[in-house]
């Protein structure tokens, strides 16, 4: 059995002249939380819709759980929440789930279990139209959890949740992943993705710009040194951390190295007669990566 749960190959969707998704090739592996990261309008939701068979690709191919996206056999093994929940407003939350459970021949026990998982049991008897945005979102997640899906596809699951609700949602996602659940999670919230995801794909303007583990994307930490004179400091830094790891930005030395190298560097600079005015250790966040790759894409540095 393959460990690749979702595989897309040059997946493309055009609406007239507009390219919503442009040759996206990504892989989601069994048991991981895959973060699909991108700004609003980047093509995340369209890609997820194609994975669920709601939208037909213009070209390219996709495989979900080893089969064609949207086929009934696949959909019964996938739980999803796409672009906000969609429920009958005149039914209670519980009745809405029971209707959906009828499509999968699931019993009421499954409905109650899903409600419990999202902590909505107390209000499950109230009409959906009386729910707050956060409660609607939680009911949407409950619907996605019905029937033990092998894959969860959640599009912006924390939309509308307050900070406590967002933290709870992250805990739920982590707990599901701990049980072996494969989750594909789209978001434009960088911190959210960084906190819960194992691997990340960054999409902008319909193109997948980069894909890898969070650690791979963040790369090594860096040190920033403000020194004088800069010309004398450059060969010293190159000797200590290697020339390939040295660059200058705004008259400061940027060194791709662990912060633990700071004492060696400062000592070498002083010995060489370089004044060291400031040393800053900097961890590269996912936000740094995100803006680096999206800005590079915008300026044409990332090849199509």
């Amino acid at each position: 059995m393959t460990d690749d749960i979702v595989v897309t190959n040059a997946l493309t969707k055009r609406y007239g002249d507009r390219v919503a998704v442009d040759g996206v090739s990504l892989t989601v592996r069994r048991g991981e939380i895959y973060g699909f990261l991108g700004p609003n309008g980047a093509g995340k939701t369209t890609t997820l819709r194609m994975l669920l068979g709601l939208v037909r690709p213009t070209s390219g191919a996709a495989s979900v759980l080893g089969a064609r996206p949207g086929s009934p056999g696949v959909l019964r093994r996938v739980g999803s929440l796409i672009e906000g929940p969609g429920f009958y407003p005149y039914l209670s939350g519980r009745e809405n789930l029971r209707v959906l459970a009828s499509y999968r021949a699931l019993d009421d026990v499954a409905v109650e279990a899903a409600l419990t998982q999202v902590d909505l049991t107390d209000r499950a008897g109230d009409r959906y139209k009386s729910y707050s945005l956060g409660m609607r979102q939680r009911l949407g997640v409950a619907a996605a959890l019905l029937g033990r899906p092998d894959l969860l596809i959640l599009d912006e699951p924390t939309n509308g949740l307050d900070p406590a609700g967002m933290a709870d949602m992250r805990d739920l996602i982590r707990a599901l992943a701990a049980e072996g659940q494969t989750i594909m999670l789209s978001s434009h919230l960088l911190g959210e993705v960084e906190q819960v995801c194992d691997r990340v794909g960054v999409i902008a303007d319909g193109r997948l710009l980069v894909e890898g583990t969070v650690a791979e994307l963040r790369g090594t930490a860096s040190l920033v040194l403000r020194v004088d004179p800069l010309a004398r400091a450059l060969p010293v830094a190159a000797r200590v951390v290697g020339a390939a790891n040295v660059s200058t930005v705004d008259s400061a030395l940027h060194l791709a190295t662990e912060p633990s190298r700071a004492p060696d560097l400062v000592r070498a600079m002083v010995d060489a007669g370089v004044d060291v005015h400031e040393v800053v250790a900097r961890d590269r966040s996912l936000e740094d990566v995100f803006f680096a790759v999206t800005n590079a894409a915008a300026s044409g540095e990332v090849a199509k």
């Binding site: 068979g53 019964r76 709870d168």
Partner: protein, 311 residues
């Protein structure tokens, strides 16, 4: 989300429901009614719009089929043989005709609204998106909706018949008339005709709901067509003979012919009902009506299956 700390998989406490564990009537229903129809029935029976429209239909049927005619009869506005004929139409043996005669126009318009709302609202609420990602094929899901609406229509026709029998019995007793139960053949043809007419109009509403992907435009277009455009075209056809071939094939004309074929009085009769006509005989009208129903259903399924769901 307190449940987070002890997250339990839904499947640990649940399983796929087997038919053997469900008893009695539920077991029978589960066996003979497909899951997609049961799912749709589950939500439709709790839909306020269905009860409102059904109640409005029953009230209109009672008012125009019995209350106004009886008041007219009692106040002497109708005298002589006409009055006797009018009273005869209000007695129990004529109840099947009372059910079918209102369907071509007003009943049809109401069930068209119901069909348009049932499908169009799903796009606005986002429920089609939810249903299409839960498992059934799109064709099966929309087929389930059509099936469930068909069950609702059958219930509505039977309820209308029951109300009409009760009203006609009350009038017969009040006027000291012999109470004759409607014949089985008359009842089956009247109720069958009413169901077929209603199903055709509802199919039209369902198709409009799918085309417009929303309830408001679908309802507006459907009502304008069924209550205004068809009548205008028939009026123009009276002046422009060549248009008659087209107007004879319009859904409303065909529906009216079915009602006329089972015995409802056409609008040209002094005691006739708007929308009822005798343009086609029973067989031709029934075939055309079935053709419309099948065409509407197939067009809806085809449209829903082919189109991207982006909303």
């Amino acid at each position: 989300m307190s449940g987070v700390s002890g997250v339990s998989r839904a499947s640990e406490v649940s399983g796929v429901r087997g038919l053997s564990g469900v008893g009695g009537v539920r077991s029978v229903v589960a066996t003979v009614v497909p899951g997609v129809v049961r799912a749709e029935l589950r939500r439709l029976v709790r839909w306020p719009a269905l009860w409102v429209l059904g109640s409005v239909w029953l009230a209109l049927n009672l008012t125009f089929g019995y209350v106004f005619p009886y008041l007219t009869y009692r106040t002497g506005s109708s005298v002589g043989p006409g009055a006797e004929a009018s009273l005869g139409q209000m007695l129990p043996d004529q109840a099947p005709l009372a059910v079918v005669q209102g369907m071509p126009m007003f009943g049809g318009a109401l069930v068209l609204v119901l069909g348009a709302l049932a499908v169009g609202s799903g796009y606005g609420w986002g429920t089609w998106k939810t249903v299409f990602t839960i498992g059934p094929r799109r064709g099966a899901a929309i087929g389930g909706t059509l099936g469930a609406l068909g069950v609702m229509l059958a219930a509505l026709v039977v309820a209308t018949f029951a109300v009409d029998v009760a009203a006609s019995t009350a009038i017969g007793l009040a006027e000291d008339q012999a109470l004759v139960a409607p014949g089985l053949t008359d009842t089956l043809s009247g109720l069958g005709g009413a169901l077929l007419i209603a199903a055709m109009w509802m199919g039209g509403g369902v198709l409009l709901g799918a085309i417009t992907r929303g309830p408001a435009l679908a309802v507006g277009l459907g009502l304008v067509w069924s209550l205004v455009v068809e009548n205008l075209l028939r009026g123009v056809a009276g002046l422009l003979g060549s248009l008659e071939t087209v107007t004879n094939l319009l859904p409303g004309t065909v529906a009216g012919s079915v009602a006329g074929a089972v015995g409802a009085l056409p609008v040209s009769d002094p005691n006739g009902t708007p929308g009822v006509n005798t343009v086609w005989d029973g067989s031709a009208a029934t075939l055309l009506l079935v053709a419309y129903l099948v065409a509407f259903a197939l067009a809806t399924v085809g449209l829903v299956r082919r189109r991207d769901l982006t909303g």
